[in-house]
């Protein structure tokens, strides 16, 4: 059973519980490296205590400009910029003001034409898992499942028993029922929902459609699988807040990996349901 041996880390980060399950690896070093990678991302992107992100927000909230020295934060900004474009502005950690932002890649300068602040939110979890996966790959880990708050999941390599990782997204209100089942390998999964226990957290930020500022309250769950956690997070958020036309455009690009489930819909589906929200 040596090749089945699993090592696990459980800890709190980014305001939620994180679990790292490594298979075929008894060495504690990869787990430690993956945890350190996640905590480093948290330190860079958090807005809940002083961080490179809060320093940047201080500058941007006054029409300012700043040089971003932090490597993780600057890389995150570049990735967000690409995802903002990919989602037609529906993923926007500045709540609709990203177009005011200018990023000078050469000099690592970020400027804004209007006051704004950034909240990386769920993107941070996916981005952190990406860095953990990179750390695990660098240390030779061949099979792992990582979870950040159960809304962000990354799988590395094949399932320890071979093939992809069979994952099912539970219905948030109907215990035992699934919204969708997916088999993933070297991929990330993100789930965004307007309902469920986590969504009921008293001070949870509202889901806002960046393109018009509308608060999205329609009961729905968005599921997106992608090559990276950052992309999956951006897409699940975009799917949840998009209007029907925009949502269909996003889904059409990868209909077997992008889903939106309005909760009037039947449950237990093995395939994507048509978006109706």
């Amino acid at each position: 059973m040596t090749d089945m041996a699993a090592s696990v880390a459980r800890f709190t980060a980014m305001g939620t519980r994180v679990e790292l399950h490594l298979f075929g690896c008894d060495d504690p070093a990869p787990l430690a490296a993956a945890k350190a990678a996640i905590l480093s991302v948290e330190d860079a992107l958090t807005i809940h205590h002083p961080s490179p992100a809060t320093a940047l927000n201080d500058a941007l909230s006054t029409d300012g400009t700043a040089t971003v020295e932090d490597r993780l934060l600057f890389a995150a900004l570049l990735q967000v910029d690409a995802l903002w474009r990919e989602t037609g502005g529906l993923f926007d950690p500045s709540l609709g003001h990203w177009s005011a932002l200018t990023i000078d890649r050469t000099n690592r300068r970020v400027s804004t034409a209007r006051p704004l602040t950034l909240d990386f939110g769920g993107f941070g979890k996916g981005y952190a898992l990406d860095h953990a996966v990179t750390a695990l790959l660098a240390m030779g880990v061949g099979s792992a499942l990582l979870s950040a708050g159960e809304s962000s999941i990354a799988v590395l390599g094949p399932h320890p028993l071979g093939g992809g990782w069979p994952l099912a997204v539970p219905h948030p209100e109907d215990e035992g029922a699934w919204l969708v089942e997916l088999e993933l390998q070297d991929a990330s999964l993100s789930i965004s929902s307007t309902i469920g226990a986590g969504a009921a957290k008293p001070d949870r930020a509202a889901m806002i459609r960046p393109t018009d500022g509308a608060i999205v309250t329609t009961p729905a769950t968005a599921v997106a699988a992608a090559a990276t956690g950052a992309e999956a997070e951006a897409l699940s958020t975009a799917l949840l807040v998009a209007d029907p036309a925009a949502r269909e455009r996003l889904r059409a690009a990868a209909p077997d990996r992008r889903f939106l489930f309005p909760h009037a819909a039947p449950v237990g589906a093995k395939r994507a349901l048509e978006p109706t929200a």
Partner: protein
Amino acid sequence: MTDDDFALSRRTFLDRVLLASAGLGMSTAAPWAARAAEDIPKGQRVRIGVIGTGDRGRTLIQNLNKTRNCTVAALCDTFEPHMAKARAYVPANTPVFTDHRKMLEAREIDAVVIATPLDLHARQTIDALDAGYPVFCEKAMARTIADCSAMVTRARQRGKILQIGHQRLFNPTYLNALKRAQAGEIGPITQIRASWHRNRSWRRQIPPGGTEREINWRLHRDRSAGLMTELATHQLQVANWFMGGLPTRVMGSGSICFWKDGRDVYDQVALIYDYSDGRKVIYTSMLNNARYGCEEQIQGSKGTIEPELGRIYQEVQPGAVPALARMRADVQAGRKNTVPIGGATWFPELPVTTPGDSLGWGEYDETMLQFEGFGEAVRSGKEVPGLLAQAYHASVASLLGEQAIDQGKALAWPTDLVTF
């Protein structure tokens, strides 16, 4: 309770105090406890003259009667109905006075206990010290910080014992809580939320012969700081004690919010006391909702202590994700099953309702123990160590809080206080 029962329960209580105060660092944090719990040598009882025979004064008399080294030898009160009730607790031939100076001049006592309205504490304490008597005065010490300082200074000048009543300092549950906090069980303490919430007016019916200012002195600003001196003082003492230091500044707000009955002290207060390294005590008190009662929530990185409830709670680490635990078991068993996972992000930041563990040891007669400690201090001429500083700083904290509320600004901890 028979004498034997009393002796047995007293011994149990003292054993608990001794046990609780025996921990690492406790001789510094609670140096009075072990000494107060020592066996009391045989000898003449200390004759106590009690000034003030209202509700609190009579409670003190009953506790003095329980001690093995004190006896109530004189009573003093200007209000006859209170005096009449107090006489029921002392021998019929106990001298009574209406003027505390006459009681002091009679020279029939060894020490004085003061349980009068707050504005009288300083004058009566200083008179007693000047007359050569050790003094036990109920908290809060005095109506002003200057008077608190004057009481300490005069006690030193006269070389006499001054002890202030703060019964939690002798409560074995609190001592045990402090011991466990000092042992690191709840990690570094960074915040204490303390509250004393009641749902009653605090107004007392004025008996025949009484006056509003005599009976309802707590409701009048020239006599009392209300919630701050009568209630908050207790908990600010606990806060200083568990923080192991003093506030650096205080800010607050107060109002007469509900009981608009002519009182001029606040019926609702909310304050923040800053301590070193960013630590805070958040204090609230009110008189029209008792849901959260009286409690100090002493919070560290590893746990929380609630001494009034007698509970200690460990921080709850997130449990394993059940679906992932099943996945691990499945893999170990050679099964490849679908892993049901995903939804709105799991958040831990909802109130935790775990029951915690008992701190043990319910209340006993900590007020009695204070007096036994006072009696031994009078006999030996050596004060019970550490008590006066605790009481003085608690009173200063409460009065500084009142000033911060009145002035609507943050006030720094005074730099001209008596040092210990």
